[in-house]
């Protein structure tokens, strides 16, 4: 069997074992490695043929969604990595609404409701209730927390 055959078998085998994964990210970007480690995990899971149902940003991790972030040129742009996953693979990036609001992370709807000067959440992220965290736990075969 040639290399391509081996690769085909590996891929086929992986799809048989594919599971639905959701993750929670807790640690703040830069103050912790949680968001970076989680990104690597999700990319690997997708590469191995698994399905990622939802990424739920909780606690200080909601700050990752800040639309005003300017990443240093000589560092990996962590937010860009997540945004790419959302745009190319349709991965849902969810922020806990209670945790987001008090940290100034507002989508357009929240901006209007609370009369704030600007929306601050990048369009790739959605702001959702805590119920979506538990729904992700219920709908997934594996749930992994990146505490940070």
């Amino acid at each position: 069997m040639g290399l391509w055959g081996l690769l085909y078998c590996r891929r086929h085998y992986a799809s048989l074992l594919a599971v639905v994964v959701s993750i929670a990210v807790h640690g703040a970007p830069y103050a912790s490695a949680a968001a970076r480690t989680a990104l690597g995990f999700v990319e690997s899971a997708l590469r191995l043929g698994h399905r990622v149902h939802r990424v739920f940003f909780f606690h200080d991790a909601v700050l990752l969604a800040a639309d005003s972030v300017v990443a240093p040129q000589d560092e990996q742009d962590m937010q860009a990595g997540w945004v790419r996953l959302q745009q190319t693979q349709g991965i849902e990036l969810a922020l806990c609404i209670a945790n987001a609001l008090k940290r100034g992370m507002l989508d357009e709807e929240a901006r209007r409701r609370y009369g704030k000067p600007a929306a601050t959440v990048h369009a790739a992220f959605t702001v959702v209730g805590l119920g979506q965290l538990i729904e992700a736990m219920m709908q997934s075969d594996r749930f992994v927390t990146f505490a940070g």
Binding site: H26, G131, M137
Partner: protein, 118 residues
């Protein structure tokens, strides 16, 4: 189908907002009729202390919120016994009836879960 979810709480109640926020997720999990347990470890044991008043630091009282857990159907309330020993705390110091577990006991209940989270 209901999942067995263990929340591992190891943060002090007022040093950051993590304890309160985590507690909110515990309550929502219970509202969704999951089989929820909580294991307090390390500084997280301070969340359980009697006589705390969050108003002194402009916050809700974590211990009082924890008191709602049994009403929400949270069955398992566990405390890491080595953490309690290190902090000089005994069952009488806690505002809720809890089960103290040594490391083997903790390993056993963690193995029984579908999900372990913070």
């Amino acid at each position: 189908m209901a999942k067995r979810i263990l929340f591992l709480l190891n943060r002090a109640p007022y040093g950051s907002s993590y304890a309160l926020e985590a507690l909110e997720s515990v309550l929502v999990a219970a509202l969704f009729d999951q089989q929820v347990s909580v294991l307090f470890k390390g500084a997280g044991l301070h969340q359980l202390l009697k006589g705390q008043d969050g108003a002194a630091v402009g916050q809700r009282t974590v211990g009082k919120m924890l008191g709602a857990l049994p009403e929400y159907g949270v069955a398992g309330l566990f405390v890491c016994a080595p953490s309690a020993a290190r902090l000089g705390l005994t069952e009488g110091d806690f505002c809720l009836p809890v089960t103290l577990l040594d490391h083997d006991g903790q390993r056993r209940i963690i193995n029984e879960q579908d999900i372990v989270t913070g």
